[in-house]
Symmetry: C2
Subunit: 328 residues, 2 copies
């Protein structure tokens, strides 16, 4: 469907296929260790409903065997009771999402059958070498009754043959959505054009759709997201004020104002920024475009070195650049 439609759309128009997923609490949780106030979470839920956002991701389903619950905010684990404390039975049109990392989630035990959960969507995050394990998770979660996506991380480090093989395997699985993920914010729009085409063609042939998750290292998260959208990708990730690890993500407020579907309204999100985001920034929570992230983006590296560099209050950017090149 999407492959037929995408080149007919104009900027005045909209495609009803396009959906938006807010992952502020999940990617943003990596910035503040998932320590969101209950007020923040409740207001974000309400804002997303008013804004017409399609999915809201509450956090991770991380293994409590691997991660000590005392060391993180509750949204690293997303217990059913914690989500229900915010959404009740979720009688709204906003669907609820959680992310589960391959190898870091006790999904058989911790993810309930869909009939007992308010969660609608589980997103399986995987590295390329974990694809068989990801597929096992996907089939398990589909049988439990969920919508399921697979998010192949760090594809900017993956060679084309491996990626093609992974996409073929995933396209034959029961997964609903395959995600193009620019973990290191290293892709330029021209590369997104080609990758989107590859993902959409493979997925479309087997009736699946494609999503995009972009990072803002080179200040291209929004540009790459709308380029992907132009190429037929129709599940778009964004976060309020771009909150997310390192350089952060595509800004939800910019994305909603770009999409012309009248069901979307950026004003509730902007109001949420006024009330909550300015405050947590003042309290010292830091994310967003900065030279160290530009450098890891350019050099296609994990943002962790840049995060540490900034935490150490260093400003010797050119030394960081040399360190990054030595690591490669």
């Amino acid at each position: 469907m999407q492959a037929e439609n995408y080149n007919k759309r104009t900027l005045m128009d909209y495609s009803p296929d396009i959906k938006v997923l807010d992952c502020t609490m999940r990617d943003g949780g990596l910035v503040n260790n998932f320590a969101f106030s209950d007020d923040f979470v409740r207001d974000l839920y309400e804002a997303n409903i008013k804004a017409g956002v399609d999915y809201m991701e509450f956090g991770y389903k991380a293994s409590k065997e691997l991660f000590d619950p005392n060391g993180f905010g509750k949204w690293k684990f997303c217990d059913e009771k914690d989500i229900r404390a915010v959404v009740g039975d979720n009688k709204s049109s906003l669907k609820i999402s959680v992310m589960a990392d391959v190898g870091r989630c006790d999904y058989k035990k911790d993810i309930l059958p869909k009939k007992d959960s308010v969660v609608d969507l589980v997103r399986v995050a995987t590295y390329i070498h974990q694809i068989p394990a990801a597929i096992e998770m996907i089939e398990h979660l589909k049988k439990k009754g969920y919508e399921v996506t697979v998010n192949i991380m760090a594809v900017s480090k993956v060679n084309s043959d491996d990626l093609d093989a992974a996409l073929q395997l995933l396209a034959k699985s029961s997964v609903d959505v395959i995600y193009l993920v620019d973990s290191f914010g290293s892709f330029y729009p021209e590369q997104i054009t080609k990758l989107s085409q590859k993902y959409v063609e493979t997925a479309d042939a087997l009736g699946k759709i494609v999503g995009i998750h972009a990072h803002n290292n080179q200040q291209l998260a929004f540009a790459n997201t709308i380029e992907a959208c132009r190429m037929g990708i129709c599940l778009l990730d964004a976060t309020v004020n771009g909150m997310g690890r390192g350089a952060g993500n595509c800004f939800l407020e910019a994305l909603l104002s770009f999409l012309k579907n009248p069901k979307y309204n950026e004003i509730p999100i902007i109001r949420f920024v006024e009330k909550h985001m300015l405050k947590i920034k003042e309290e010292g929570v830091v994310w967003g475009y900065d030279i160290p992230y530009l450098l890891t983006g350019i050099l296609n590296s994990h943002p962790s070195s840049a995060i540490k560099f900034l935490k150490d209050k260093r400003t010797d950017y050119t030394n960081l650049m040399q360190e990054l090149m030595d690591m490669d």
Copy 2:
């Protein structure tokens, strides 16, 4: 030449036609009232030479009849002696540029014959209704011996017929470069694709080239600049750390690292950021992407309302949005 070449380039490759213009002091001067320290200017000049930048713009040639020299830093006026105090006779490969606004520059008197000046390039900034006056300036400056560009401002407010007519007139003038200028940062890359095509086709037919000057209201300045570059625009404006009015401009350090021409090197620019930009930011000089600028970008408005909003330390974004809609 460019129209033939542009679709052959890959991201591994580079086009030798592409040139970069640093307008940190000119667009950034609008942020700090042109109050750059002599150290800043000298170091920027040296950094641009080392980085392989093609042009450095020192500021405006503003009329001293209209603007009181005591009210601004010297780079609003760019007296020959002030430029020479930095560059001497400029024996480097870096060319010197100044900007002259139509109707706000006593160009007959204040711009010397080229043989008496170290300035290489004069950029004529014009609104669409001033095109005949701009052409008079262009012809005068060409006769004086300069390279000349024309920068048609605020084209996002101009209707297509008027723009076509203006481009035709300018293509027939003696101007060397016609600039696509996104003054309000309101264009999406898809619009830049089409506009670039229009500008390049018109200019190319008469042996002229096209430049781009983007603003970062929607965090698209870099994306729009490289999209224009892909479409055959080959004079690219950028500023160090994106310093420029309101949301600022395309980041020079990101642009240089994108361009694969080995003559470019972003390290001297990054080193300049370490030494000077962090300091002036700490001193309270403010620019860059922020919600008020996103709103003026979305609504295709002059950034002045957003600048005032931030200066007044307001954060009631949704009221600003209503005010902007009432102004239209």
